[in-house]
Amino acid sequence: MTEIPEHLRKRAEAARAKAAEKAAEGGAPAEGAAPAAGAEEPAAAPSGEASRIPAHLLERSKSAKARKEGATAEPAAAAPAAAGGGGVATAVAAAAPPPTATGPGGHTQRLLTVVKAGSIQDVKATPVDKVHTWPHLLAVEFVASLLMLTFVLIFSIFVNAPLLELANINNTPNPSKAPWYFLGLQELLTMFHPMVAGVTIPGMGIFLLILAPYIDRNPNNKPEDRKFAISLFTMFLMFWAVLVIIGSFFRGPGFNFVAPWTQGLFFEL
């Protein structure tokens, strides 16, 4: 029995359905034929694939086999049967004692399966354009770190880190500000209860960030295909950036609003 690959069987079925549809569209006389074709389908299915082997080849191999075995059956009598379809040919072969060196139907060669190149050579690692890390990457890293070092060094020569007067627990400066990266939270403190502003909102923020890859199920990384994710994240960034900027530059004594260009900066790094 020839095993028909699943995808080929499906394809054949689809083709048959399409042909039936076409016949149905063809006109009134075809309408009568359509159910008949449908009825034939299950019976034709197994033989349909086998009969893809050209009839004359089937006939030739069959007659050769008959000669070899010295069978009494007349080749001439077998010929129309073989021409009738592969289904008949298999039936004849099944009746005969199973030969050892030949396949079903007495064919010495048979079609096992049709395999497309893509499915047997499923190459997952597509060739990637690569370059040597040395010098291509190390050189870039070296230059980047040199530039950064230069920047930090020169900036540090000209700008001193703040050192205010000795800490005094009895003298609260006005305003008292957190480090700049927490000024967004301090800004939230003016709007919410401290538990919400100081714990719940930042906690949720971190939690959402951690969960981001598990929430975003879209496998695509092209910006045009992930507009929602990008706009959401941009809003997230802007939310904090705006709060930090307001907290840093627009809050003065008593943490009240000030305009930095009139009342000056109340900000230490």
Binding site: M148, S156, P213, N221, F233
Partner: protein, 258 residues
Amino acid sequence: MERPGGKKTPGQRVSEIVDKTQGSQAWNSIFRPGSVFRKGYTDSPRNRSYVIMNSVLYHLHPVKVKRHAVKVSYTLCLGGLSFFLFILLTITGIFLMFFYRPTAAQAWNDIYTLQTSVTFGLLVRNMHRWAAHLMVLSVFLHMARVFYHGAYKPPREFNWVIGVILLTLTLLLSFTGYLLPWDQLALWAVTVGTNMMGYTPVFGDQVRFVLLGGKEIGTDTLLRWYVLHVLFVPFVTVIFLAIHFWRVRKDGGISGPL
């Protein structure tokens, strides 16, 4: 070129010494094959691979990387620069540790003396301070870059999680260091911060007590934050950094191209 009288030119003598040194056993035991300091280093694919494979530092990298991965416009070097700033902070931080005692009575004076009487003291403290702020910024920007490239998508989800942990560790590192100068800025910034954490539901008071080492900010807080800043948090950070870098390679290098 032989000079009359069989004397060698100074140039010949120098190159002879260089040859002899580079050919010596000691030299070759120090520099592994592929080192540019080895005798007869030539630019060949084999030597390019050896440079990476035979260096304890460089072999964080694979021998080859995707061509698009070396484009500065893709990564903006943000992750690498964050790591570089971490190293710079470690070096400058070790320098500062020589001149600093974490007690309320001495801390501020030590910083003041460092700035006024120690050679390069002011410069190194400035560098430490500005590099710290820059690191917070670059880690933050690195996160934004990774998000906008969709680089957190499979198979890199877990490395994103490690990255978020590293972001919080960076903030912790910066915040614990903020208290150490023991000036008005430090004291009140930390007061604001720890008061906020005191509002943690259920065990807020306990959290605050653990953070401050008491009911109020004092010399115990300073010691506690000092140990956190110079030892504990960097230690944890290095572990997570190692996992982060290792996962970059295991997940098939950096993401992209878009």
